[in-house]
């Protein structure tokens, strides 16, 4: 269970990105949505320890982790799939997937698990396991590998920053299946930034961020009905802004 207490973050230029955010995440899937610039990615970075909040506390399963570095949070059971996957010259898909596997499991088990996860994101393990994580992979391939690497860790709190970006619609169902399997395996919480209706539809709860503040945080249906003004408007799939339908 994750608890944020009065989290604020002010950028070096003085702009308030996150304003006094307090919330608890204890559901299976929680989606974060909201317009561009509302602070969604910054919030995930604060939770993971990549950005240090200006004020407030982060509590994971009762432990104050506000001052812990990224890797110690990771080792306490947190993971983050980046919005923009990172390239590594020379490192292969296999290297990072094996790194993601539990350290006490044998190498072969980790390898088989890695292959299974690649299959889940729609990549043939045999074709990808020895590919380098460099510019030879397309944006969509990198994105799927990023999701696979993060899911392979099987953490109790897993954060995904716009996992659908760059993924074609055909694989949406597979993506949702990855989240479901992850939850099945860990019994933990999955926090997903998304603008996609199909992902919002599987969320138990939705957080709607606006101008760095929590505008809505409630059960999925309630938030969707409040945001859609009687189904005449919906969140744009691309920018998250509310738009008239039709």
């Amino acid at each position: 269970m994750l608890e944020l207490q009065n989290i604020s973050f002010t950028a070096p230029d003085g702009k308030d990105i996150l304003k006094n955010i307090s919330l608890t995440v204890d559901d299976r899937f929680v989606a974060i949505t909201g317009p561009n610039g509302s602070g969604k990615s910054t919030l995930l970075k604060v939770i993971m320890g990549i950005v240090t909040p200006t004020a407030g506390k982060i509590i994971l399963d009762g432990e104050d982790i506000t001052d812990l570095p990224i890797n110690e949070r990771a080792n306490r059971g947190m993971g983050l799939a980046f919005q923009q996957p990172v390239h590594f010259k020379g490192l292969k898909v296999r290297d990072l997937l094996e790194l993601a596997g539990a350290k006490d499991t044998p190498k072969k088990t980790r390898y088989l698990h890695a292959c299974d996860i690649l299959g889940q994101v729609g990549l043939c393990a045999q074709d990808y396991i020895d590919r380098e994580l460099d510019g030879t992979l397309s944006g969509g391939e990198m994105k799927r590998i990023e999701i696979a690497m993060t899911a392979a860790r099987g953490t109790k709190l897993t954060l995904f920053d716009e996992p659908e970006a760059g993924i074609d619609l055909w694989s949406f169902q597979s993506l949702i299946h990855v989240f479901e399997k992850l939850h099945e395996q860990t019994g933990g919480n999955v926090l997903i930034i998304s603008h996609q209706e199909r992902i919002l539809n599987i969320a138990d709860k939705i957080i709607y961020l606006k101008d760095g503040e929590v505008d809505q945080y409630d059960d999925r249906d309630k938030v969707i009905s409040r945001l859609s003004f009687g189904a005449r408007q919906k969140a744009c799939n691309y920018c998250g802004d509310m738009r008239e339908e039709g």
Partner: protein, 305 residues
């Protein structure tokens, strides 16, 4: 063979025991083990130190190992190894030099390797340089590689100097004939006060010739690397060079590309990048549970793979 020699052999040639096929192991200035096959002959030179390796035309799927190990402090040597590779061959050559210097005197190995690769032959060459030892004596290595690729021949070189060498000048010169292809992957890791100079120079002389030269360097602490890559496009050819380097601490790397085209159908490209490890790479690996130092080590290990 003494334990220290065995360990050096493992480092430079990944050998736990004597290799299969032809080999010549040079230990502390002398040939300590040799094997020849029906297709590969190894003959000691009579006018100077070194060997001739003669590979018969049509030799396929065979290998030659010629590692050099120096464990005696103060030993300095200049060795000439010439490879005569006949037509239509497909062979792998594994060289390499390991110096362990625990004494007070400087040790040095200067190796000059010349390759004459016959028509339509394919050669893979792997060379690793390694130094260790806690003595005050320094470890020097100056390898020179000269390559002549005949028509339709191809050669792939994987050369690496991964730590432990105080000073090195690595020279590679190649001439590439008609429809021949040369690929070089060169890797250098320096630390402490080490200095490394590398000069790669390729002349693409035949129509349809090509080269792909990839140099990766990591300079840690106060070490200095200078890399010069020179391609002369003298025919209808394709040349590509890439210098990619990571600097850490107070390391210095200088990369100099030199492209000369003297034929309108020559196409030459050079790319160079020097910088520190990208912050986002460290962050990504830290989100997977590695601390900063472990993340750095993994990034460098991959980069120099």
């Amino acid at each position: 063979m003494e334990q220290i020699d065995k360990e050096l052999l493992k480092q430079v040639a990944e050998l736990d025991s004597l290799p299969v096929g032809a080999y010549n192991i040079r230990t502390n200035g002398e040939s300590s083990a040799r094997n020849t096959t029906a297709d590969i002959d190894i003959v000691s030179k009579t006018d100077k130190s070194g060997i001739d390796i003669i590979i018969k035309p049509g030799t396929k799927n065979q290998s030659v190992h010629i590692p050099v190990i120096i464990s005696k402090s103060g030993l300095k040597e200049l060795v000439y190894n010439d490879f005569f590779i006949g037509e239509d061959c497909d062979v792998t050559i594994v060289a390499g030099c390991g110096i362990s210097n625990c004494g007070g005197e400087d040790s040095a190995h200067d190796g000059i390797h010349s390759f004459f690769v016959g028509k339509n032959s394919k050669v893979k060459y792997i060379e690793k340089h390694y130094g260790e030892g806690t003595g005050r004596g320094k470890r020097f290595m100056n390898p020179t590689t000269v390559i002549e690729l005949g028509e339709g021949a191809s050669m792939e070189l994987e050369t690496a100097q991964i730590g432990g060498i105080d000073d090195t000048l690595r020279i590679t010169r190649a001439t590439v004939g008609k429809d021949a292809a040369l690929v070089i992957h060169d890797k250098i890791l320096t630390d402490g006060g080490q200095k490394a100079n590398a000069e790669l120079s390729v002349a693409l002389n035949g129509d349809g010739s090509s080269c792909d030269l990839i140099s990766r360097g990591v300079a840690k602490e106060n070490s200095v690397q200078n890399v010069t890559i020179k391609i002369d496009g003298n025919a209808a050819c394709h040349g590509h060079a890439e210098c990619d380097s990571i600097i850490m601490d107070h390391g210095v790397i200088s990369a100099t590309p030199m492209l000369t085209a003297s034929n309108v159908d020559a196409s030459l490209i050079h790319e160079a990048a020097i910088g520190k490890i990208a912050g986002e790479q460290l962050t990504k690996l830290m989100t997977m549970g590695l601390d900063e130092k472990e993340a750095e080590e993994l990034i460098i290990r991959g980069f120099l793979r």
